[in-house]
Symmetry: D2
Subunit: 350 residues, 4 copies
């Protein structure tokens, strides 16, 4: 099958390329970048030197639609909603990695992103592309809205527990620690190595946009309003997110309850690993362990003293947090084995 | 004045030495280390090469008491409570950097540390050595129990607000991010560079010992029981702690209220800086900015949406979190300018 | 085909496991570790959680020989020479990742390693396992001695040029920068995160053992004695080696000569990439770019002013510097496509 | 005494400010920055929050000259040569931290920097500001040209040995490893954290400008032409430079010769430490150990096998490599104790 990537010069675009070049069922048609059109892909993604002789071309979504069977769109927020209607009219299937079709309520784009949505009629048709929650809908979707990296981290940690009556649903704190690749490939003072090295910078202690996705999906799972108090910190690593979810208990819970709940919810999910060992250095999730893989590791601990559960989830923001889930969605949409192209273990140590 | 350091080969001991070698009013008598007795100090603390020709001697607290006017004790938890009574009988003033005299309730040593305290009668006499809360008592103290690094970080962030009626006092989440020097100088698998580099490891998501100190001091300030839900994460830096305190509101608050509250509480404190800028990369506290200094930076943000305040505090765990505060306590006990030896700005960038 | 790994709990063993679990033609029979016998593999190699349910078994090379068709030996230096004769008598093919069979001259084990070799008669039969130099011999070998990581880095950079008359062969400086995984999985003060972070530590400025391998192989290629002045530095990364080779010119050389020479020497080599771009951040080799891949990137620059060429080579010490080359050797010994299991691009950014 | 800093918003300017704020004999008059004029200093140098209430002013060298007794100039290369004549006419003493007055031969500005020098007549009057070589001239200088950071590192390592007949003076290799602050405060793709983290990037393997300074000063010391083959690598730290100097022997040398030579040359120098221990992790120079201090650590090792000496030097590029030496020069020019303001030990661990 032929696929194209619109907006392929960013970190997510590069990761898509890396995965797709090793995917047995696809061939890459076009990769677009207006800034790098005409350049070899390895000028921007140096790891791909020797893996492909592709060059970037200018972005012309319509034209690209003609040359492939599925399109990944990895443009900045606010761009794809400008051309998505026309693109879908060509009959093309699209996986959009930007935020433009993640939220169901068009008012939330005004509230959280500060702009009016250009084609609100597509919001209901778009499927939120988290396979663990929406696999059946993704199978039949024409437009998949790939989740935000922090949103995915938080949703996967919390979905099983918000369905239950164990916890307070209006007091959920999610404290994120994020690698520098999450802010993209464009240099700035905040990403300048002398300023970012050794940092624990609370760059968005309140008001992060991913709150909207987190609450939308968790409320849907819970069947009632779930309220999330989210904070985001930049730390000294490149890839990875740890979400630490502090949840207060309404009813007493035991470790066996949590195991049963999470095993029941995630059952045979190929990319969810439950991590709660009794000893050792690796007994809880840590983004370091999932770098380069499509896993989301989920762990937990009960704090009887403070009447709290701590839920922990770790993933690679460019993989399970973006390109990995996008390819997983493609596999589902095409009726293929969901793990195709995504079976790599992470690297350790790294 | 002559001072000695018992247990001077650890990171806290080395930092004490570094500060004291530059302190105008003190002379160092003895530095003890049973493992390194006979070795030059710079074999263990290479930064001090050329700054001193001191050698470590064996630890004999009694003998050491005879040769100096004030003793810093920086032994592992559970050690100093074995010899403190005898030491104090010599009339010596002591600043203990271990946990042995921080808690007032002897039962808490059983609960949080797993051992029975050897001289519970001293617990009431010991002064919890956080100048911002106990300056008057420190002036007259014979035994000062220097705070734990995470405890100090959390207490300084929360003390002003727990005195008020703005917040829920049984739902306070404190999420810590800690540098590797906090675990001390002894190698282990968890501190092995290939295993610690790029890590965001939730090594103690529940049940951390500093909870006891945090609650003791905050409850004292509040005049009622304060409950803290604490989690600790190891991150990829050497020095520094960030405490992110998520506090739910009972009554509405405005930024001007917080400014007034914190300015009022900390007033002329020489080592507290309030950090809340409207723009720029450095608008909130970050441990990177205080490395090498004795500052605790405190910031805040209101989250109207989630009905929460986020309080942020950052300090250098070896300075304001240990040796810096210890020297500040010495200055107070001796009636000197509290800032002596402690005026260095942090290094930037680092 | 069934393969086993003797000494599978180290970093090289873990990397072998990771590659072999994804290799289409092999099945893993036994993985041994005396320290971790009985434990699941993922307790030591947490990235492999969910990828295998193997447990470590005790090392009994004879018994293991019975259950598989090829054995990787990844024991500490000086161990495998104690059991190799018996192992080979079982008819087993062996790839030894330790130093025990790399050197042809038994006296060099006394000189560089400080011990007498236990079965010097095997040294001539062993093939130095660098496919780029010894592919034909590897095809027929029963015992392959996999190269040392720094040696491989230096040999690959220098082999083409030492065959020529352009350079002085007794004045070759090779300055290595090495990641922390190169020193193995055992914690020590020098690998303790607070002591290793931000380091540029010249831990072996002279007298490094890999000098012997470097000179053996380069002299063989050159057809005359080649002398290498080698220095090794530890830097703040986990994986990767950069070798900077400073070579003085006897005869003038031009860029086109170097391109022709290296293209001619490495021609269709699947894992050698020549990197010399005119612009951009990625114009020379950098270990960061090859992490997780089996590539060795080689670059060069002429210094007319100082009458020198600088040759640069970068590889991932656990991949092309150890486990990757070992699997490449296995593929060659078995007559398979040399790239099987080794086609991953590196991760970028990382 | 009143001093001003022209170009105070860069990293070197910030470090000057930090030192001078703690210097007992000086008061800061003006700090200029055209980009940040009107802003508080701590907006750019966040470590100085609470240490000063200075604001940046526009750069007007003439006007500034009127308000102080000594000026530090820290402008980009090529700027200060445009206004230096006028500045000196005001009778002002100047310490220039740019490259504009370091080289004696005006042709070298064309060759190494690519521009014609605007006031070549000042080149002979300017004193190269390395106190260890030019203390007497600095005492009387009106214009001091502060050394380049890598040049200083290499000169201090090599000066004692190039005076002797032990070594080949046309085959000196100096391989530098440099922290990210050395490239300044302006973000770029090469300094973007995701691209710079874990890097060992040979960004200037040949043709580095500091070669000119290195050779000028070493040739002067040697009394004959010294030729340096220099390469520069960016590594994953913020502050610090390690220079590894590979020098071939013409005549045999012993460790005692080197000790005698270097002790003789550096004698009572306050900021040179000789580091060559027989054991331990800290037995050679490492930039990590000097961060925040004004020390240059120098070590050495003999390589009998390869007929080579390796000389190692480490310094903090912002301190002994720039601002620290500049303040040392000021102290000398003013007849004060040379160590004033510069006695801090480095931080360890960091």
């Amino acid at each position: 099958m032929k696929v194209s990537i619109v907006g392929a010069s960013g970190y997510v675009g590069g990761e898509l390329l890396r995965i797709l070049l090793g995917h047995p069922n696809v061939e890459i048609a076009d990769v677009t970048s207006n800034s790098y059109a005409g350049e070899f892909v390895h000028r921007v993604h140096p790891n791909l030197r020797g893996q492909t002789s592709l060059k970037f071309v200018m972005s012309d979504p319509q034209k690209i639609a003609g040359s492939c069977d599925l399109i990944f769109v990895s443009t900045p927020h606010g761009v794809s909603s400008g051309f998505m209607s026309q693109l879908l009219e060509t009959g093309q299937k699209v996986i959009d990695l930007s935020a433009d079709f993640r939220l169901k309520n068009p008012d939330y784009y005004v509230k959280w992103y500060g702009w009016n949505h250009k084609c609100p009629e597509l919001l209901e048709k778009a499927v939120y592309g988290l396979p663990e929650l929406h696999r059946k809908e993704i199978e039949k979707a024409h437009l998949v809205a790939n989740p935000g990296c922090m949103a995915a981290t938080g949703i996967l940690a919390l979905a099983p527990i918000v369905k239950t009556e164990f916890i307070e649903k209006d007091r959920i704190v999610v404290d994120f620690k994020v690698g520098s690749s999450g802010a993209g490939g464009k240099p700035s003072l905040s990403s300048h190595h002398p300023e970012h090295y050794s940092v624990v910078r609370p760059y968005k202690p309140v008001g992060h946009r991913h709150t909207a996705e987190l609450e939308q999906e968790l409320s849907m799972v819970a069947g009632e309003r779930v309220q999330v108090a989210m904070s985001a910190h930049a730390v000294n690593m490149v890839r990875g997110i740890l979400g630490t979810c502090h949840v207060f208990l309404k009813n007493p819970i035991m470790l066996t309850d949590i195991w049963r709940l999470y095993r029941g919810f995630y059952g045979q999910e190929p990319f969810i690993r439950l991590v709660h060992d009794k000893k050792g250095v690796f007994r809880y999730p840590d983004p370091k362990i999932v770098v380069g893989s499509n896993y989301c590791d989920i762990g937990f601990e009960i704090d009887e003293y403070a009447n709290r559960i701590v839920l922990l989830s770790a993933l690679d923001n460019l993989m399970k947090g973006a390109a990995g889930t996008a390819v997983q969605n493609m596999n589902i949409m095409c009726g293929w084995d969901e793990k195709l192209g995504l079976t790599s273990a992470g690297l350790h140590p790294i």
